[in-house]
C-alpha cells in the first residue's frame, strides 16, 4: 500500500428528505497522505461532517469511490466495517460521547473488548492511553466527575487505545473553553507528530485549523481547494 490513507474519486452523497433531494457532497476528489494532519473547514451545511462520516464508514456513499487505508468501503459488509473501524479508526466526537455509567478506564477499555487481548492487557493499554493524555490520576472517575476538557481527553484516549492509523475528529473543540480546546488540539498535534497518526479534523474554528498541516475548504458540498496551515 502506498502512503495515501484516504482517496476519493467523484464522491457524491445525496440525502432524500421527504420529497426533496439534498446534495451534501458533489464530485469530491481528495487525497490525504499518511502522517498528515488535515482540517476540513466550511460553513454549516458545507458537507465537511458528511465527508468525515463517509471516511469513517458511518454512512454510505451514493456515488463515486472512497478508499480508506486501502479498503474500498463500498465493498465491505456491515460486520466487516464494524471490525475495520475498530481496528483502524479512532473517532472523537464534539460532545465526547463517553458512556456515563462507565468510569474513565472502562470507557477507554471499551474498544479493546472487541479485540483478542486479555483482561490485564486491556487494562494496561487503557491505563497507558489515559496517562498519555494526562489523566493517569483519574482512572476511576466517572464522566460526571470530570470537566469538559478532561472528558474530551478521555475520549481521545479511547480513540487511540487500539493504536489506529487514522484519527477522525468531528469538531473536537466545539464544546470546550479556549484553554481546554488548546489542550485537546495540542494532544492531537502530538499524536500526529510524535506517533505518526493521520488526523482528519472537522472544524469551523480558524484557530483550531492552524494546528493542522493542511486545510481543505468545502462549500455547498464542493471542495473549494486546499491551503497549508500556518502553525502558531
Amino acid at each position: 500500500m502506498d502512503d495515501i490513507v484516504i482517496q476519493t474519486r467523484d464522491l457524491q452523497k445525496e440525502f432524500v428528505r421527504d420529497e426533496f433531494h439534498v446534495i451534501a457532497l458533489k464530485d469530491v476528489n481528495i487525497e490525504i497522505h499518511r502522517g498528515e494532519f488535515v482540517a476540513l473547514m466550511g460553513p454549516s451545511g458545507s458537507g465537511k461532517s458528511t465527508l468525515l462520516h463517509l471516511i469513517a464508514a458511518m454512512d454510505t456513499v451514493t456515488g463515486g469511490e472512497i478508499t480508506v487505508l486501502g479498503e474500498n468501503l463500498r465493498k465491505l459488509s456491515d460486520r466487516q466495517i464494524a471490525h475495520w473501524r475498530n481496528e483502524h479508526v479512532g473517532f472523537i466526537f464534539q460532545q465526547f460521547n463517553l458512556i456515563p455509567v462507565l468510569n474513565a478506564i472502562e470507557n477507554v477499555e471499551l474498544p479493546l473488548k472487541i479485540t483478542n487481548l486479555k483482561k490485564q492487557d486491556r487494562i494496561d493499554h487503557a491505563r497507558t492511553a489515559l496517562e498519555l493524555v494526562g489523566l493517569g490520576d483519574r482512572l476511576t472517575h466517572y464522566p460526571r466527575q470530570l470537566s469538559g476538557g478532561q472528558e474530551q481527553r478521555v475520549a481521545i484516549a479511547r480513540a487511540i487505545v487500539t493504536d489506529p492509523a487514522l484519527i477522525l475528529a468531528d469538531e473536537p473543540t466545539g464544546n470546550l473553553d479556549a484553554a481546554s480546546a488548546d489542550e485537546a488540539l495540542t494532544l492531537l498535534s502530538r499524536l500526529n507528530k510524535e506517533f505518526g497518526k493521520t488526523v482528519v479534523m472537522v472544524t469551523h474554528d480558524p484557530h483550531a485549523a492552524r494546528f493542522a498541516s493542511k486545510i481543505y475548504h468545502l462549500e455547498k458540498g464542493e471542495l473549494l481547494g486546499q491551503e497549508a496551515a500556518a502553525a502558531d
Binding site: A82, R85, N97, I99, L110
Partner: protein
C-alpha cells in the same frame, strides 16, 4: 467480545425507579405462578406420600373413590383369603375392611363447615399403616364413640382437638388422640371404630373398601389382576399408591385458574418490560451510536439490550421467589372432588419451583426485550448519534 454486562447492570441501577417498577411487575406475576405451583406440588406430595406400594385397595366395580364404593362383609370374607396377602404373627390375613364417609366440621376460618373424611376401621387397619404414629393421646377403643384425628385436622379445627367432642352420626364422639403419617393425606382424616361408625351411619353391611397388604410387589400386581378378573366378586382393585396419585386431579381447577391468571399477568408484565426497554433504547440512542462507531456490531448491540431485559426480569423472578417464600410450609386445605372432603397439605416452595419461576421471569424478559433490542440494533449510526 460482547459489550460488558456491567454496562447493562449499571444502567439498570442508574434508572432504578423504572427498573424496580418493571421488576416488581414481573415479581408479582412470578409470585402468582409460584403460589399455584407450590399448592399443586404440596397436594401432589401429600397424595403421593399416601399409601404403600404393597397395599392393594379394593372398591366396588365402577367406583372411583372409597366414598362412592360399596364392599360387603360377605365379599370381604372371600377377598381376605386370596393368595398373596401377608399374614400377621397370629396368622391372620393383613386385610382391613373399612367404611369411609364425610362429616362436616366448622372452624373460625370456615363457619359454614368443611367436609372431612371419617374412616371406620378395625385395629388391624391401624396396624397396616406403618407410617401412622400417635402423636398425642391414645387409639380409639372398639365399641366406643371415640375418634383419633389427623394432625392437620387438630391444627385447623379447634373443635376437633384432643379432649373435645365432635357431634356426628347418633351422638357425640370423644377425640382421644391425634395421629400423624408424614406428609400423607391421612393427616386430613378422622379414624374411629369400624362397627361403631358403620352402626351410627346405618351402614353395618354396606361398607366402603378393603385394604390388603401383600407379601411383595409381584404378589401385589398378581392380586390386583386376580381381583379384577374375579367375576363373582364384582370389585375393582388397584395399588393404594395409584389410587392416591389419581386424586391429584383435585388441584386441576386451581392449576387451570392460577395458570390463566399467571398467563394474563405475564402478558402485562412482558409489555411492561418491553416498554421499559424501549424507553431505555430511546434514552441511550447516542450511546448506541457511539458503541457502533467504536466497532461493536449490530449483533453485539442486540445481545446487550436483550441481556439487559433478561437480567431485569431475572431480578423480578428473584423478587417473586422472595415474595412467595413465606408460603413455604403453610398448611392449607383443598376440596377433593374424588372424596368430597378436604385434603390438608403443606404448600411447598421447593428449589426446583423457584428455579422454574426465575426461568419463567427470564422468558418474560426475553419476549419483552427482543423487539426493543432489535430496534436498537437496527438503528443507523448517524440517526442514533443525532438523538437528543
Amino acid at each position: 467480545m460482547a459489550i460488558p454486562i456491567t454496562y447493562n447492570l449499571r444502567n439498570l441501577i442508574v434508572r432504578k425507579t423504572t427498573s424496580i417498577m418493571a421488576a416488581l411487575g414481573i415479581a408479582l406475576t412470578v409470585a402468582v405462578l409460584l403460589a399455584v405451583m407450590s399448592l399443586v406440588h404440596g397436594l401432589d406430595t401429600s397424595l403421593k406420600a399416601t399409601g404403600n406400594p404393597l397395599h392393594v385397595l379394593v372398591l366396588r366395580k365402577g367406583a372411583n373413590s372409597e366414598l362412592v364404593s360399596g364392599v360387603s362383609r360377605e365379599q370381604f370374607q372371600d377377598i381376605k383369603f386370596k393368595p398373596g396377602i401377608a399374614r400377621d404373627k397370629a396368622g391372620e390375613p393383613f386385610a382391613s375392611l373399612e367404611i369411609v364417609t364425610v362429616i362436616n366440621l366448622t372452624s373460625v376460618d370456615a363457619p359454614d363447615g368443611v367436609n372431612v373424611t371419617l374412616r371406620g376401621l378395625n385395629p388391624i387397619g391401624v396396624e397396616l399403616r406403618d407410617e401412622l404414629k400417635l402423636v398425642n393421646g391414645r387409639w380409639f377403643q372398639p365399641g366406643k364413640r371415640e375418634v383419633v384425628v389427623g394432625a392437620s385436622i387438630a391444627k385447623r379445627f379447634p373443635g376437633a382437638r384432643m379432649g373435645e367432642k365432635i357431634h356426628f352420626g347418633r351422638g357425640d364422639w370423644d377425640v382421644v388422640g391425634v395421629m400423624q403419617a408424614g406428609q400423607s393425606a391421612v393427616n386430613s382424616e378422622i379414624f374411629g371404630d369400624l362397627n361403631q361408625v358403620s352402626s351410627d351411619f346405618n351402614r353395618s353391611e354396606a361398607l366402603s373398601s378393603a385394604l390388603l397388604r401383600t407379601t411383595d410387589a409381584v404378589s401385589a400386581d398378581a392380586l390386583v389382576k386376580a381381583l379384577q378378573d374375579d367375576q363373582r366378586l364384582n370389585v375393582s382393585s388397584q395399588l393404594e399408591t395409584e389410587y392416591y396419585s389419581k386424586q391429584t386431579t383435585a388441584a386441576l381447577p386451581i392449576q387451570f385458574l392460577g395458570g390463566l391468571v399467571a398467563v394474563i399477568m405475564a402478558v402485562g408484565s412482558s409489555f411492561a418490560a418491553m416498554n421499559t426497554m424501549y424507553a431505555a433504547v430511546a434514552r441511550r440512542s447516542r450511546e448506541i451510536g457511539t458503541l457502533r462507531v467504536l466497532g461493536f456490531s449490530r449483533g453485539s448491540i442486540l445481545l446487550s439490550f436483550f441481556a439487559e431485559s433478561v437480567l431485569l426480569a431475572g431480578v423480578g423472578g428473584l423478587l417473586g421467589c422472595l415474595l412467595v417464600l413465606p408460603l413455604n410450609g403453610l398448611t392449607t386445605g383443598i376440596g377433593n372432588f374424588a372424596t368430597f372432603s378436604e385434603t390438608s397439605f403443606n404448600l411447598t416452595v421447593s428449589p426446583s419451583i423457584m428455579a422454574s419461576g426465575i426461568a419463567f421471569a427470564m422468558l418474560l424478559g426475553a419476549v419483552g426485550g427482543f423487539f426493543p433490542a432489535r430496534s436498537a440494533a437496527k438503528r443507523e449510526i448517524l440517526v442514533a448519534l443525532r438523538a437528543v
